[in-house]
């Protein structure tokens, strides 16, 4: 991912429930089985099996809002890469540990642990989110929710566009956009 990562997004909320799977939920397991890493393909099919309307109609700047334990299941990159390719933000009541690692590595713009949102955001709400400060303005309900943002040292990965770019920046290796 080149260019700057936006700290805030204004867009529509796409809501998902608890325990959303990584393989078989965020991304079709077939992409893992056949080793697809092309962000254009992954982005196109992001969360498609759960909500075809999300895969069809969501636009960069929109925000995925989920319940507990988002991304459970197998530790595969296709899911987080798909979310990133889609250019959307991500706010979860909680995230599975394995997916959290992958999501930091992929540089997802996210608030992964936000129990404060429970019951306060509906599908379709217009949100104005500052991922750096953790402030979520629900424009539809005219309400502000304060959550705990990523700590600085993790935000550095997001700001760099993911782990590989972070490493390249820090150590000047040729890794560059290899991961993207």
């Amino acid at each position: 991912m080149s260019g700057t990562v936006s700290e805030s997004m204004q867009g529509r909320c796409w809501k998902f429930g608890d325990d959303i799977l990584n393989d078989g939920g965020i991304m079709d397991f077939e992409m893992v089985r056949t080793g697809v890493f092309d962000p254009a393909i992954l982005g196109k099919h992001c969360l498609e099996s759960l909500r075809a309307d999300f895969a069809r109609d969501s636009v960069p700047g929109d925000i995925i809002v989920t319940g507990r334990n988002f991304g459970r299941g197998q530790l595969h990159d296709a899911g987080p890469f798909a979310v990133r390719a889609r250019g959307v933000g991500l706010i979860c009541v909680s995230m599975s540990r394995a997916f959290f690692r992958l999501a930091v590595s992929a540089g997802l713009v996210m608030i992964p642990f936000a129990p404060e949102i429970e019951g306060r955001i509906n599908d379709g709400d217009k949100l104005d989110v500052n991922f750096r400060s953790g402030s979520i303005r629900n424009l539809t309900r005219n309400e502000t929710i304060q959550t705990q943002p990523l700590p600085d040292f993790l935000w550095d990965f997001v700001a760099a566009g993911g782990e590989m770019n972070w490493l390249a920046k820090k150590y000047g290796t040729a890794a560059g956009d290899a991961h993207v």
């Binding site: 393989d23 397991f29 334990n69």
Partner: protein, 463 residues
């Protein structure tokens, strides 16, 4: 201070704890399959070597063919290449490779116990979700993923200590009720996220009464509740299971080992962060209807009705699962027709499972394609010595070569789009057995019953 079984093994392997509260753990045995080629590449690029090759086992299971015994039988060059890459890495780094043709080969979670690697008090790690299977021997067995390169290079791994959860199954199992029905019942109660950040110890009369094979079925699905590990305290059955296996303690060390193993039970006053109790007498044959293993119900039940679910989000999730599975709310589960059957996987491919399935299939005919895949060469030999393979073949089943096979469909054994499979595996996720596949999880006897009738069936009516 009172300790759990988990605490005792953990403390024995803890090297140091850092400021963030993560503990560096020593790994006794590290098992892994073919899809580790990238980790070895990282290892090589970073200039590291394998720290303890004698404690590593590379095992071909995910990509191996079930219709043949040689590399030439693999479905295509890509898969052949993935298998041979593991063999190459074994030669390069000097660890043991259990490949096609090796009489010890099988699904890694069967190989660990069969070889005596998994034994009370050890830490076994595998680069696989279902590592908890091996906790049935009174070992700590974790799945690791991103930490694999670190583990290769140091034979250690950083872990945050999970909380402790005890699941007690009291009473006595009823007629026709298997270990799979027990774990599916636990799953339905605890839920897909109910054991997140916890390690589970399974206890109670029903677990004690189980064979070691059956305990492995229970521990296998711990991950489906989000648990890091699942264990059963060792007892005489465990010691008898381990005795005489290749990596069991030597005869002169046996008494010392046994004295240590007998200390590996949770202290009576140990503190549990979470406790769940289930009455074993209430457990009945189970099947899953949806896209998560927690979606399990008694075979006597009806497909659930979303309108009955008060929570809007869960109602929506339920409807999406019903749409994917092409099921109508309120229909009896026993009216669901199936297209094929798979008996196998690290959940249910041990000799005990095959005996149970064969008992149902004996003298009957299957009406849908049925694939039976023993979990290891050892299980296959044992089953053939008992004549089980003849029962399967005479019933019209395909008798396959050991491997993960149709559980994860990486070796070419797939369920076609829109087709419905009665499966003894562990995951009914969307697309798990192939794009568009529909999976119903159940026990080996229940899968055998479905193979005979062509629909989900209460096996108690056939035995």
């Amino acid at each position: 201070m009172p300790r759990t079984l988990f605490d005792k093994i953990w403390d024995q392997h803890a090297i140091t704890t850092n400021a963030a509260g993560h503990t560096l753990l020593y790994i006794d045995w590290l098992l892994f399959a073919e899809s580790t080629f990238a980790d070895f590449e990282v290892l090589r690029n970073d200039g590291y070597s394998v720290r303890r090759p004698a404690q590593l086992f590379g095992i071909a299971d995910h990509y191996t063919p079930s219709h043949g015994t040689t590399l030439a039988d693999a479905v295509d060059d890509e898969r052949r290449n993935i298998i041979t890459t593991l063999e190459r890495n074994a030669r390069r780094h000097g660890f043991e490779y259990l490949g096609l043709g090796d009489p010890r080969r099988g699904i890694q979670h069967l190989v660990g116990p069969e070889q005596g690697l998994a034994q009370p008090g050890v830490i076994v790690m595998c680069a696989d979700s279902h590592t908890a299977t091996q906790g049935a021997l009174g070992a700590l067995a974790f799945g690791i993923g991103g930490e694999l390169t670190h583990a290769f290079a140091t034979q250690t791994v950083w872990q945050r200590k999970p909380k402790q959860m005890r699941v007690t199954v009291d009473g006595k199992r009823g007629y026709g009720v298997t270990a799979k029905d027990v774990i599916l019942t636990i799953l339905a109660k605890v839920g897909a996220g109910g054991a997140v950040r916890h390690a589970i110890e399974y206890a109670g009369a029903v677990i004690r009464d189980m064979s070691v094979d059956e305990r492995m079925t229970v521990c296998n699905m711990s991950i489906e509740m989000g648990a890091r590990a699942g264990t059963v305290a060792p007892d005489d059955k465990t010691y008898a299971y381990v005795h005489g296996r290749p990596f069991a303690p030597a005869p002169e060390d046996w008494d010392t080992a046994l004295a240590y193993w007998r200390t590996l039970t949770s202290d009576p006053d140990a503190v549990w962060d979470k406790e769940v109790t289930i009455s074993g007498d209430q457990i009945v044959p189970m099947v899953t209807w949806g896209n998560s293993p927690e979606n399990s119900l008694s075979i006597k039940d009806l497909v659930p009705t979303p309108a009955d679910e008060p929570d809007a989000q869960r109602r929506l999730d339920m409807q999406r699962s019903l749409d994917y599975m092409d099921l109508k709310p309120g229909m009896p589960l026993t009216r669901i027709a199936i297209d094929q059957v798979f008996i196998g996987s690290c959940t249910n491919s041990r000799i005990h499972d095959l005996r149970e399935a064969a008992a149902v299939l004996n003298g009957r005919k299957t009406v849908v394609p049925t694939l039976v895949v023993p979990g290891s060469m050892s299980v296959k030999r044992e089953a053939e010595a008992e004549g089980l393979h003849r029962i399967f073949i005479e019933a019209g089943c395909t008798w396959g070569e050991p491997g993960c096979s149709m559980c994860v469909s990486l070796n070419g054994d797939t369920v076609a789009p829109g087709k419905r499979c009665a499966s003894t595996s562990n995951r009914n996720f969307r697309g798990r057995q192939g794009p568009g596949s529909r999976t119903h999880l159940m026990s080996p006897p229940m899968a055998a019953a479905a193979a005979i009738t062509g629909k989900l069936t209460d096996v108690r009516e056939l035995i």
